[in-house]
Symmetry: C3
Subunit: 342 residues, 3 copies
């Protein structure tokens, strides 16, 4: 890849300041800039790097005013962060994509494949499954019986999908995801042993869902576990049976949602959060990392922290006092002494 500042500016509808013919052949973060690299400045915290960086070309916002000399060629755009995202996407699409059915795969004769599908070696597509157009199934995946996968989905290596799962269009599942394993349902039996509750429901992922590596989404006991359109889950997330996650909610890594809970739309949930079973989380809820949600969240756009979690500013206040508890107790002792002295 080789582009001039002028070519990049014309893709982004930007304006060059400096030499239009400056050539770049890779991307870099501004603090890691090197000759020949294209970088960007969006976060004001990083502004000081623009005067030091060795990057050859830098995307900046229209309103950026340099305080000192900048050596790099600049390209002014409306939104430097979005512009770099556009370029990364173009670059990413230039990477060779795999196509065709590799010989060492297994596709059941009763499975239906769309156009331009990739099925990698050692991948398995079961009976009555339907795979949409342009779907990429990397090596070592398992797609059970009667699974439906929409157009343009990508299953990275080792994704495992149990029977009856339904996946919408444009979904990306990173390596090792497990979709449709049994929910954790056991009933106390005579004595201390547990009786397994058969899990006969399924999992539905709507369109534009992205799952990080090793995400698990369990099938419903009856009915469906549902991940609504646009949801993004980071690595190692766990979603239990009969959960529903609302549209465009994003969850950072290693969080878990217990059975039958409903998470609203447009929520932002941190990493290592735990959410109890059988509760409801309102739309727009924000939850700080490592929090535990044990009750319904009824008010939309709440911002929560703690375990059990409550309003984040109140939590922060309490936590400051917690850190001071030794001092607080000493003050209490001193009062006790004063009073007993009297």
């Amino acid at each position: 890849m080789k582009f001039t500042a002028g070519q990049i500016a014309s893709i982004l509808n930007g304006k060059v300041e400096g030499d239009e013919n400056t050539v770049v052949n890779c991307f870099s973060k501004i603090e890691e800039g090197k000759p020949g690299s294209l970088s960007f400045l969006a976060n004001p915290k990083y502004t000081h790097y623009i005067y030091e960086t060795a990057a050859s070309v830098i995307l900046i916002n229209n309103d950026f005013l340099p305080q000192k000399e900048v050596k790099a060629t600049l390209i002014r755009v409306e939104d430097a962060y979005k512009s770099i995202a556009v370029l990364l996407d173009i670059y990413n699409k230039m990477i060779e994509k795999p196509v065709g059915i590799e010989k060492q795969s297994f596709v059941h004769k009763k499975a239906l494949l769309g156009k331009d599908v990739y099925v990698g070696a050692f991948s398995y597509v079961g009976k009555d499954s339907k795979i949409g157009n342009n779907v990429q199934i990397y090596p070592g995946c398992y797609v059970g019986n009667n699974v439906n996968i929409g157009d343009n989905c990508i299953l990275f290596p080792g994704v495992k999908i149990y029977y009856n799962t339904v996946i919408g269009k444009n979904c990306t599942l990173h390596a090792g995801c497990v979709i449709g394993a049994d929910g954790f349902g056991f009933a106390p039996n005579n004595g201390d042993a547990f009786m397994k509750i058969a899990q006969i429901g399924n999992v539905i992922l709507e369109d534009n869902v992205e799952l990080g590596a090793l995400v698990t989404i369990d099938r419903a006991t009856m009915g469906s576990t549902i991940i609504r359109a646009g949801v993004k889950l980071d690595n190692h997330n766990h979603v239990a049976h009969n959960v529903e996650i609302g549209k465009n909610t994003v969850i950072a890594a290693q969080s878990g949602i217990a059975g039958t809970t409903k998470v609203g739309e447009n929520c932002m949930i941190g990493g290592q959060v735990g959410i109890s079973p059988h509760i409801t989380i309102a739309n727009g809820t924000k939850i700080s990392s490592q929090s535990g949600i044990s009750n319904n969240v009824l008010k939309e756009d709440s911002i929560l922290m703690g375990a059990p979690a409550y309003e984040i500013r109140a939590y922060h206040k309490s936590y400051i006092h917690f850190k001071n508890l030794d001092d607080i107790v000493k003050r209490l002792e001193s009062l006790e002494k004063k009073l007993s002295d009297k």
Copy 2:
């Protein structure tokens, strides 16, 4: 599947109230009931749904007294929850089970397979391993050398079992479980680097163990990591080297038990719990989600919360005060002022 209320009642030894000929063809939760579906009412919290649901047939406990008219046909049984579990199990057993050795698998010539075994494509069974009768090994599994798997076990896709592992009868391992990886054993070496301690022990799962997706159970340094009969571990659990988990203990998702710890029988452990190494947890201990157990739990049937955890009611009391700390400190300040004014 199509059944009448009368047929279902006779399977369950129940009594029909309403039309014996009402036909159902699927299951639903009572709040999601639709014409043609069979539902149940066990949790009193859901009682109000019975007057609204569109389900055609509902299993209820013998002692249920309707307060209003119920449109659905009812079937009275001793325990509605257990009865629905029985029906789900019957339904689940009607799903076609895979059989035979798929051509694209690898079974070592010195491996021994029992009767009616399934080995899916791209699964590997190593030298000297013994696979019991009716075992199902789904596609993409790995069974290393000298592994012993008892009758009726199910290995869902992508399960990885290292050498020398011993698995009892009737165990279910969901997709992506890793059994027998090295324990995390390193000793400080000269300087700052670490020296690996070879892990030469193994893992033993006794009968009727069920592991959710992506559970890891590490092999012992020497001796065995042991999961006793009837234990159930939810997705993403981590069990370190030389741990022992007692009979019928259940652990929710994403918990971790550090090396050499002994967890008792009949414990119930929540999600995202962490348990320190080299400790002992008494039988019947219950541990709230996200707790951290750093010391021995000696008293049976303790109920614990917090990190480090202690008795749950005491924890709840402290946490209420924690939430009020800002107010508590203001009260302290006010006393200080009063006293200094005097």
Copy 3:
């Protein structure tokens, strides 16, 4: 395996006390000793077992003075723990190692394999990838295009490595690890949906890195996510895009490090720890299990606990008061009453 006490002593440069011809054929922990087993005593907490154990031979430190009769044959060495590690390692190396390219594997014709490489069945090695000498790739692994793996690495079953990853020498990756999946990068788009930020960087593991089962290390957005030499990560760890982990740092199971954070050298981090994005952790930092690190740690060799974490002794003090809060509040009430009585 059969060795006499005399043979073992000569391997370890130790001194036999008792019968040189005592034969052992397995290892045991001292508390699980049985006739024919070789054990060791390093931790003084276990000293009392040496008088009871049925182990036939026991390694002890040179300075150990028995208080009672010991039945076993003893071997005195400088460091009993290191000596047992040496023996375990010898034993481990005697286990038959797999070699050769198994027929049912896929190796791209443009991949380069070193000498004495093992590629197990159902493993995939992509275009332009280079595999060093003595590398073992167990069954069911995926190595994408243009991946570089150094000499003597072991990839246990089901490891998935995305394109452009670079792995140094002597690295061990346990089953199911995912290296190089996309970082979790999304930008708010028009409305509530998110736009994916293409992740075009890579992952670099330096020499002597060991990763437990199901560890995920995400590729950088641009540049590299870097795991420095000698780092050891336990099962289920999550390392986000553009993170750097310094030399010889060890992290226990189920911890997570968010994007762009730099962890120093020689850190020791407990299990289930969460570390925020865009921060720096000084060399030698020790972090207690389940802690949350949300700010830079500037001082080397800090020992931290809590969420958010701070100095561990101060945390412990606060936590003791937390447990006493009910009593503290009662004392406050009593003061209030006294003062209002006056």
